[in-house]
Symmetry: C2
Subunit: 297 residues, 2 copies
């Protein structure tokens, strides 16, 4: 059987176009796979189990890395809520097409928050000073500067920096006031980046494993994609911190450092598409179109 079409689009063969409309970078041509295979061990970091939350759904497990550097208050609160087993029996309550999937507890079924707090000071951005951003050179619609820092996609206006709402990024729902969120209600971006949410709400991390379990949740038919009946919801069996799990239940991730030479090569391999399928090598890449490589030790 032959399924043509986009099959070849992600193949990693090397090919330079003779009539490229953009200048092709004068670098050795390596596929993405080769770049990662040839990377030095020092370009990878062990992901801290204390910054991982494991969410157990009926269909499998979702694992999220918390952004301790960008949103320390939310990270600490989510860690406290996980330690209190706050989300055990919570549910996926919303699935909105090309936007977000959201989960939390029903008010009618509360649970003690342990050392967690119900509201937090906003962490919509942080000072730019002292943050090492691996910058993209292509223009961005929403921000003066975009790139990657501490393992996450970020943007900056030169004074503040914030994480961008790319697919797989997780945010903390809030009400109308800036300090009304806490991380108790979380959402994940499943569609084209809703970058208008940047700086309006705190993004707190990203999904490292299990996105395919969240993104296919049947869309809710209520306003904003909320489910209209409790029966439509998916129950969350448990949410645990990696550091509280037995070693046998942990996944030991290594994430490519976003300030490494290898990651800069990854970015270039996404900007200039040298695979034979590409007739136009492109020469640009959006901050939400660069994959952030993760592997299991």
């Amino acid at each position: 059987m032959r399924w043509q079409g986009l099959v070849a689009a992600l193949m990693l063969a090397a090919c330079a176009s003779a009539e490229a409309p953009h200048p092709v970078a004068d670098a050795p041509v390596r596929s993405l796979g080769e770049i990662l295979e040839q990377s030095p061990a020092a370009d990878w970091r062990n992901v801290d189990q204390n910054n991982l939350i494991y969410m157990q759904l009926p269909a499998g497990r979702v694992i999220i890395e918390l952004a301790a550097d960008y949103t320390p208050l939310h990270t600490a609160n989510i860690q406290a809520l996980a330690r209190a087993h706050y989300w055990d029996g919570a549910a996926i309550v919303r699935s909105q097409e090309n936007y977000v999937v959201q989960w939390g507890r029903d008010e009618a079924d509360p649970r003690p928050m342990g050392e967690g707090q119900a509201t937090l000071a906003p962490e919509f951005d942080r000072p730019r000073a002292g943050v090492n951003i691996t910058r993209l050179v292509d223009p961005d619609t929403y921000a003066r500067e975009v790139g990657f820092a501490h393992g996450f996609p970020v943007a900056s206006n030169g004074r503040e920096t914030w994480m961008t709402h790319c697919p797989g990024m997780v945010g903390a729902g809030r009400g109308d006031t800036a300090d009304s969120g806490s991380g108790a209600e979380l959402y994940v971006v499943i569609g084209h980046a809703p970058r208008h949410l940047d700086r309006n709400i705190a993004t707190i991390g990203r999904v490292l494993q299990g996105m395919e379990l969240l993104s296919v949740m049947p869309r809710g038919t209520g306003p904003l994609g909320f489910y209209e009946t409790p029966e439509e919801r998916t129950t969350i069996a448990s949410v645990r911190l990696g550091s509280e799990l037995p070693a046998s239940e942990r996944v030991n991730f290594e994430a490519l450092r976003t300030d490494s030479a290898t990651f800069r090569d990854v970015i270039e391999s996404r900007r200039f598409r040298r695979e034979s399928w590409f007739l136009d090598p492109v020469g640009h890449v959006n901050v939400c179109n660069v994959q952030l490589p993760v592997r299991v030790r």
Copy 2:
């Protein structure tokens, strides 16, 4: 019950921020709903049933508008294939996370193409001259100029113009050569816009109804999201042209003209977010973050 968080994000209340970091346009504040309600009838067009294909899936119907102006050869070929009932018994064969869902016929189960052709000249772009593009003023990562024309999101380098790979856009799969596609194998974008496909492949239309049926297809576990067994596929009962359906089975869409004053107001309402939930009114919008309003007559 109270689900806070992003609930308010799409509410259409009017509110201007007193400390807006961007200049707020000096226009009367109307919600998106008000803009559409107050629009003159002449700002809407009847979508031609001859440019609509209705794809029947077990869970419901997907309706796609063909881009007759940008890709006339593919439009004519897809119309011919639909008239030949080419896709009856075809299947969804691929679902790749944050990328595309794809369908076509299994080679082992061929069907006559009628007046359709197996390959077509490429239609990856068309001349810019003579195309009226409603432009966006914000920068774009991939193209010098972006906006909307003939009801579709488009980009241009000043000389050529092409449709952009936003979510919901449908493209014609091809092999390694430019003329190897035909529209017999189609894909729909389900994730963050893979704009690196722009000008590398022909986008041929967009989904007007039923995206929520395609985007939740279980992700395939084979390479590139292909299903590994026939059992995982979803069978397509039929694909028909609207003009060949009995009137009782048609949906009579009106689409907001993308060259209308109403649509320019829609764009501004997406650039400057005046809903009370937004603490930062944003002041920018990406070509893939502007909804293209459609209503049923």
